[in-house]
Amino acid sequence: MNVPSEHLLYLAAGLFAIGVLGFLIRRNVIVVLMCIELMLNAANLTFLAASRQHSTAQAANLDGPVFAIFVILVAACEAAVGLALIIALFRLKQSVEADSLSEMKG
């Protein structure tokens, strides 16, 4: 593939922006969590694009892909904890709307 690396970065920036947007405007906690996953993927894509950019025919720069692997791992952990929290809240409230986070007022 001969696509210039910056096009990959464009795509990643777009995905990241979509994730941020979703995080800020959606109320459903599960969807908010998905938006965070979207943001993580944007970061992964950037890591890979940059790795491709900084690799030469002789030596691959593998810091980026390794980071991406760790990100996938962390994403799994965060998803598990997040969903467990949602279940705990659901048991208490029978609702998963972010607006139900309203017992405390700033």
């Binding site: 970061a43 760790f70 962390v74 904890v81 705990a88 048991r91 208490l92 017992e103």
Partner: protein, 486 residues
């Protein structure tokens, strides 16, 4: 690299450097196993204490021998990171002691899980403080954060606690995503994740600076700096108080440790901007605290203000503080004093907290000096130290922060910061007034004094007393600590 070379990464120095982490990991696993077997239940506390003590000893010996940069330069065990490590161990130990007998009977079945999670957090903090590579830092951040998300919502039967955990989680994950995207941009610009290499290459151009901005934003979130401080009051108030103590002290210290290590990423011209952000944070924290009637929430706002104060050292360094390690010294000493002060204050609140939130309101503290003079005296010491009175550790912390600014020539931020800490006394003194100068409110007068159960909370009480004494020692004989700064 060849497979044969791998082993060379793990020489004696590397083992010494990661020994504290290993000790913690082993402690965690042993603790988990002890939870499986009923008969070993009584071993829980000794295991936790022994693990932390052993870890502390290993960190202290690293402080003396300094293994240095290890494992292909991804982790550094120097005097600075060891000093931070000691702070983390102490913070965790204090939080754990305060959690003793804190939870209700219904929450006890998960006590082992609670202790395992608590024991995991210093591992994350040490990775953060010693990280010389963005991946190592990120893993450390998550090793710290994920247990904290669970701990924050540990009182599952309380909506407030679960909400605090969820809120912390959502914003924490959001911040983590910012960090990741930011470091990916830095990587795209420099081709490296090693801090030393990034420093050598230098960060130029919009891509790199955008990445730095995102990374800093996520760090600012962790240390609760404007404009990423909004989560703090709710989360601190909703979490179980010992966990709040850990978040306020350990997490913040770890994030500051990394921030000090990554200050070089910020351009010199950002000094004034950082100073303004820090001052705005102080103002918002102090003004927010002024309006609170719940002491726990008030301390949360005060924590924001303190984060702003420490951030001033970053501004000082960027503006050209001639002392190369001025920021590190100031942040270390400040956070050291803050660990004992804030942990002690939260610990006392945990001690007083029996029937719901009754004892965390100012109203409930009225006249406490008559009923429990020692608790009142200790709380007064903590309040004065938080305010930065001389004779307490808080004062020298403040001194070092302001001196960094003054040396760098940032006089007006120092003056504004000093005046903002006058506001802070407005609410710290309110606590003292409630303790000493107001009669017991009638609602509370009828209730039993609570002295009866003090015996069972002895570890927490002793920990608080030790904190109070240490705060005073840090203020009167600071040489004991200052001479040992890295």
């Amino acid at each position: 690299m060849n497979p044969q070379d791998l082993l060379q990464l793990f020489d004696d120095r590397a083992l010494a450097a990661v020994a504290p982490l290993l000790a913690l990991a082993i402690g965690i696993i042993v603790l988990l196993l002890s939870g499986v077997i009923r008969a070993f239940e009584s071993l829980r506390a000794p295991i936790v204490v022994a693990t932390l003590a052993f870890t502390g000893w290993l960190v202290a010996s690293n402080f003396a021998t300094v293994p240095g940069s290890v494992i292909d330069g991804t982790y550094i065990a120097d005097r600075a990171s060891s000093a931070w490590g000691l702070l983390f161990v102490v913070a965790t130990l204090l939080a754990w002691l305060f959690s003793h007998r804190y939870y209700a009977e219904s929450e006890r079945p998960f006590q082992v899980e609670h202790d395992v999670l608590m024991l995991t957090t210093p591992l994350g903090m040490m990775l953060m403080a010693g990280a010389a590579n963005l991946i190592v830092f990120f893993i450390g951040l998550e090793v710290l954060s994920i247990p904290l998300y669970a701990l924050a919502s540990f009182r599952r039967s309380r909506a407030r606690s679960v909400e605090a955990g969820l809120k912390y989680f959502l914003l924490g994950a959001f911040a983590a995503a910012f960090f990741l995207y930011g470091s990916s941009l830095i990587y795209a610009a420099t081709g490296s994740l090693q801090l030393a290499e990034i420093k050598a290459i230098g960060l130029h151009g919009p891509l790199a600076l955008g990445g730095v901005a995102l990374v800093m934003a996520s760090l600012f979130f962790k240390i609760s700096v404007f404009p990423f401080h909004l989560w703090v009051p709710d989360v601190y108030q909703g979490s179980p108080t010992p966990v709040t103590a850990l978040m306020a002290t350990g997490t913040k210290a770890a994030a500051f440790a990394f921030l000090i290590n990554t200050m070089f990423m910020l351009p010199k011209s950002a000094a004034l901007a950082v100073a303004v952000v820090a001052l705005v944070t102080m103002a918002l924290g102090n003004l927010g605290a002024l309006a609170q009637t719940d002491v726990k929430r008030m301390l949360a706002y005060s924590g924001i203000a303190h984060a702003g104060t420490v951030l001033l050292v970053v501004a000082g360094t960027l503006a050209g503080d001639p002392e190369s390690s001025g920021a590190l010294h100031a942040a270390l000493f400040y956070m050291g004093a803050y660990v004992f002060t804030a942990a002690g204050a939260f610990g006392l609140l945990a001690l007083l907290e029996r029937d719901g939130e009754r004892f965390t309101t100012l109203e409930a503290l009225k006249g406490l000096a008559q009923r429990r003079p020692f608790v009142a005296a200790a709380l007064t010491i903590f309040m004065l130290s938080l305010g930065g009175m001389p004779l307490t550790g808080g004062f020298l912390g403040k001194w070092m922060v302001f001196s960094s600014l003054v040396r760098a020539g940032l006089i007006w931020p120092a003056v504004v910061g000093a005046l903002l800490s006058v506001i802070a006394f407005g609410y710290y003194l309110r606590v003292v007034i409630a303790l000493y100068m107001q009669p017991v409110s009638e609602r509370d007068a009828a209730l039993p004094s609570g002295q009866t159960s003090a015996g069972s909370a002895a570890p927490a009480a002793i920990a608080a007393a030790v904190c109070a004494v240490l705060v005073l020692v840090m203020g009167t004989l600071p040489g004991l600590f200052l001479d040992r700064l890295p």
